[in-house]
Subunit: 622 residues, 2 copies
């Protein structure tokens, strides 16, 4: 019954779909040749896969309202097929031919790989193996958070299936039974430099993906409308499993001298062969505009924000900032109804567990698969949520590529790294975040915060949830005393001058664990008659230039003290702030190979303990 | 026949193996309780898996000669089972009980997670999901490079199987038919915070791993000597496939109040229960020393080094430094017989392809799976090879965790990142390496080089191959003119002053593509009567402090110019060098969101073109 319906439907549509496909092939060839770069062959293989999806009756989208909550989502994980992506929207009547021909031109929204600058881009791609994770996040949002009927489609390349992140996403999608997530695998056999590991062997992909619990639909000819129509029909039957359409395709399909040829990746057709290519593709008399089915009328879930309870800690109370992070998530849950939490199988260490226990429906266990966790968090963020993503600071290095790409997608994601620095102690270097500040500082418009006590941690979690964009919060494993009154105010880009006098000869700039060592060093030095200023630089990016520069003006020397490698850390951030400044800056940081040992032994061995700081100051002044 | 033999053999050995296991359990409990931290339960589950491997007749190792080329290799990918790892070597008579009790003490070689400081550590672990890739590298070395009969065994945790890197390694091991690679999967059901995705379902692991082309051997009781003996016997039959032993085990096995219990991860037994735990485990009257079978007598392949042809380029000749990299690998192949190359499916772009074509037996295609590529390269490096690992600079961010861990293993790996900076042009931000300098600068004792022409590139590839440790070479996509004579000498930590006079008012410090823009700016400014000094800082780490400081002394201002984000890059490296210096430093870098566009448009938009540099200098002096 379904089959015959399908056949009628596709029979009725095939002519139009053919004409749209032809038109799109012409656009793909023209815009890349015009640009003199781009990936026509990788686009040509997926033309029917995408034309049938969008214009064959499966895809539901209100083209006039990209933000419509009921819209299906389409992510091009193989972002280099952007000529196809933009041409699809041209075929939908939303991009003019003129605009299409600005492809890859400076300032054009049609960039080499899709970014949020183009209004129909769901997620920035181009670094392969990321789209499925982002799609998984959007599917989680639809199924578990917003409870909306939209489906998420992800166009995947066969080469990128080698990325481990794909298999992280595949296993988690099955774990969360995301039958609203549909992958479309374009098996065109050829990667950039030659054949992929499995070539045209669809069964190789089926075996692996089915083993992970997906439903696979094989399409022996990915250029055949009837087969594709049936595949999409079947893919949209919800059965509790995510679905992968695995389609045999021809790279360069439609242009005889490109079809299935090696050495044609990422090469536009040269001017002298463009006519030949066009005649291969064929002509369409007039522009065909495809229709996309409108989405179901749905209402976006609206949960009112409620005033949270006040922060309550006693001065001097000892607790780890990671505990304060867990407390903050729970305290702020009602203030930020869109706040959700992700963790990589260490929630009992990062303390995300406190939120998971209180709000299980808003917590998502992502297991030890950080790349997918970050991609998924980006996906829910792009659907309007406020994900807080936690693991050990060191293990975010696993997902640096996903983190680096997130800003080009937009969306607000906050990363929370616990167990930073040598002060974690006996577990040793593999568990120490010693590069995390450097890594997160490179994120344009990103924020890097490193609070030293429970009060500032809670206030800064609030500030991060209230902000749009990417943020990073660095927490500490060990207990530290509360040094701020519960009602103290903290702003992103601020700092606190905790000790100062007119006699200050030295400025100590620290954050987190070393701030406490610096306060102790202050006392030691004071006894020895040396007045020092102590600044809590809890906001490393953006940085409070005015306060740092003022302190540098008023003292003979600035010391930065950080439990992090010297490169790219707090010290270099301060140096940048003082780059036109004469006051010398001494950067104390982790400069020796870290070992196992107690936190105190570690800090002392690295010259970051109160005693070591005091020694360094005295030596400088001597 | 084999079975009966096996049964006799294991029957004969079982009593001893039992006593060794008991002894090891006691050590695991004691050294962790003594340390007050560590992972006894994760160690206890794998005791029989490892005791049977090492002392049951399978493992071949000359304990007096860890560097013996015929030694089998054992990697603890679940590095937190270090108490078991160290105890195994104690049971082999190579670690004293006294030393064992220094576990996790400061300066002890027995760190919380194994590092190269302990002589029997094959690879540093602790960040999960890395050991299998390193083992894959060692297996590649045995099968394809040194052609040695040693086998590589990797103990895997079940939680870490969620890491995508595992599946990258699994797919590549099958691709390279590594039947000398044997994984031992300790399925103890429990992760850190609770049950794993598949719990005790051995079939779930079998399905997935077999789908990728491995031979799987299920062990329904991973604490049963007879089953394990048969499993290892079978695993060592070479059939062209890598082998995974999938064993059901009990976390905390041997201690009733720990067995299969949640909430017991990473917790030593408290003093008040240690006696109870010990009586559960049972006693051994006297220390038992297990014997390990010696390795086959083999000879390590020795290929003499030959003098390479000289570097030959004409001054002014235009070619990309990535091309020079390809040329250098080919030219130096005979000088460094241990040099091998890995690439992530972009060898035609990185130009590793030139080496692949000339020396296919020394090139390994790693497909688009960067995490495994870096792990595998570390593995061959640890077997004495000199791997050069190339992909786009941006995509090394994918493997930051593996890169960060490599120094704790030792071994010499050189990373070569092409397509750095906005100057790649139209492909846009997803393909641009804009964080790579920051990332690689964080590697302790690492080297970061960024040559501007073909001659310096070739010379620096030579210097990197000649050096021990981790190195990074940044290459450029576009063509640049050769500015150095073919016999010019370059040293790691050096720099070149290309323009200078007594009238210099400004110092321009640049490297790579921006060095050429700076030379052009020099001409422009000279015409306008402004003398500037130009320094080629091709060695960003280590950095030529003397030259930079001397230039800062002699000029009014220093400009750094880099095609990289400002954080952690060349500019901050120079600021560190001048941290006690009064001369102002202006850092020109990529500060706006990069788009698609021509290289010239990109550099100009970011203020990095010759014209923009000249403008910046004039504005400063005005």
């Amino acid at each position: 019954m379904i089959d015959s319906m399908t056949d009628q439907k596709s029979a009725a549509d095939e002519k139009t779909l053919d004409r749209i496909a032809t038109q799109i092939r012409r656009w793909i060839l023209r815009c890349t040749s015009q640009a003199g770069s781009g990936h026509p062959t990788s686009s040509l293989s997926a033309v029917e896969l995408m034309v049938d999806l969008m214009f064959g009756g499966t895809f539901r989208y209100d083209v006039k309202t990209p933000e419509h909550p009921g819209n299906d989502r389409l992510i091009f994980s193989k972002g280099h097929a952007s000529p196809l992506f933009y041409s699809l929207w041209a075929a939908a009547g939303e991009v003019s031919e003129e605009e299409l021909m600005t492809y890859r031109q400076f300032d054009s929204e049609l960039e080499g790989h899709p970014t949020s600058r183009f209004r129909f881009t769901e997620a920035a791609t181009g670094s392969l193996g990321q789209g499925l994770s982002v799609g998984l996040g959007m599917a989680i949002n639809a199924k578990y958070i917003d409870e909306l009927p939209y489906r998420t489609f992800v166009l995947l390349g066969d080469s990128e299936m080698a990325e481990g992140s794909q298999w992280e996403a595949i296993q988690l999608a099955a774990h969360y039974q995301l039958d609203n997530l549909i992958g479309v695998l374009d098996v065109n056999r050829l990667g950039q430099r030659g054949e992929t590991m499995y070539g045209h062997d669809l069964e190789a992909y089926r075996q692996r993906i089915e083993a992970f619990g997906w439903r696979c639909i094989l399409v022996s000819d990915g250029h055949d409308h009837a087969q594709l129509s049936r595949a999409y029909e079947s893919a949209c039957q919800s059965t509790g499993q995510p679905v992968m359409i695995i389609a045999w395709t021809v790279k360069g399909e439609g242009v005889s001298f490109l079809e299935n040829k090696e050495g044609q990746h990422g090469k536009p057709v040269s001017d002298d062969r463009i006519d030949e290519a066009m005649s291969d593709v064929g002509d369409v008399n007039e522009t065909v505009v495809g229709t996309i089915h409108p989405p179901a009328e749905v209402t976006q879930r609206q949960v009112p924000s409620q005033t949270p309870l006040p922060i309550e800690y006693e001065l001097g109370e000892e607790l780890a900032t990671r505990d304060a992070y867990g407390n903050a998530l729970c305290r702020l849950a009602k203030k930020y109804p869109d706040l959700v939490a992700f963790d990589g199988e260490v929630s009992n260490s990062t303390r995300a567990k406190q939120f998971a226990d209180e709000h299980p429906e808003r917590f998502f266990e992502m297991f030890i698969a950080e790349q997918n966790m970050v991609g998924a968090a980006t996906g829910v963020a792009l659907r309007g949520k406020l994900p807080f993503v936690s693991t050990f600071a060191a293990f975010f290095s696993r997902a640096f590529d996903q983190i680096r790409m997130a800003p080009y997608s937009g969306g607000s994601v906050t990363f929370v790294g616990s167990h930073c620095g040598v002060s974690i102690g006996q577990d040793g270097p593999s568990q120490m975040g010693l590069e995390d500040i450097a890594m997160f500082r490179t994120i344009a418009d990103g924020v890097v915060l490193y609070p030293c006590d429970a009060v500032s941690t809670e206030a800064l979690v609030d500030a991060l949830a209230d902000r749009r964009g990417l943020g990073y919060l660095r927490t500490t494993r060990g207990k530290t005393p509360v040094i701020y009154a519960a009602d103290e105010e903290f702003t992103i880009g601020g700092s606190k001058v905790l000790r100062q006098s007119d006699q200050d000869r030295v400025t100590l700039v620290a954050a987190g664990i070393t701030l406490h060592e610096s306060l102790e060093a202050y006392d030691v030095l004071k006894e020895r008659g040396i007045a020092v200023r102590v600044i809590d630089l809890y906001s490393i990016k953006p940085l409070d230039h005015a306060t740092i520069r003022h302190a540098a003006d008023q003292t003979e020397v600035v010391f930065t003290i950080e439990d992090h490698f010297p490169e790219g850390g707090l010290g270099e951030a301060v140096l940048t702030s003082l780059s036109d400044h004469a006051t010398p800056v001494n950067c104390l940081a982790v400069r020796k190979r870290p070992l196992s040992g107690s936190p105190d032994e570690q800090l002392d061995a690295q010259g970051l303990s109160a005693a070591a700081i005091a020694r360094a100051v005295e030596m400088h002044l001597a």
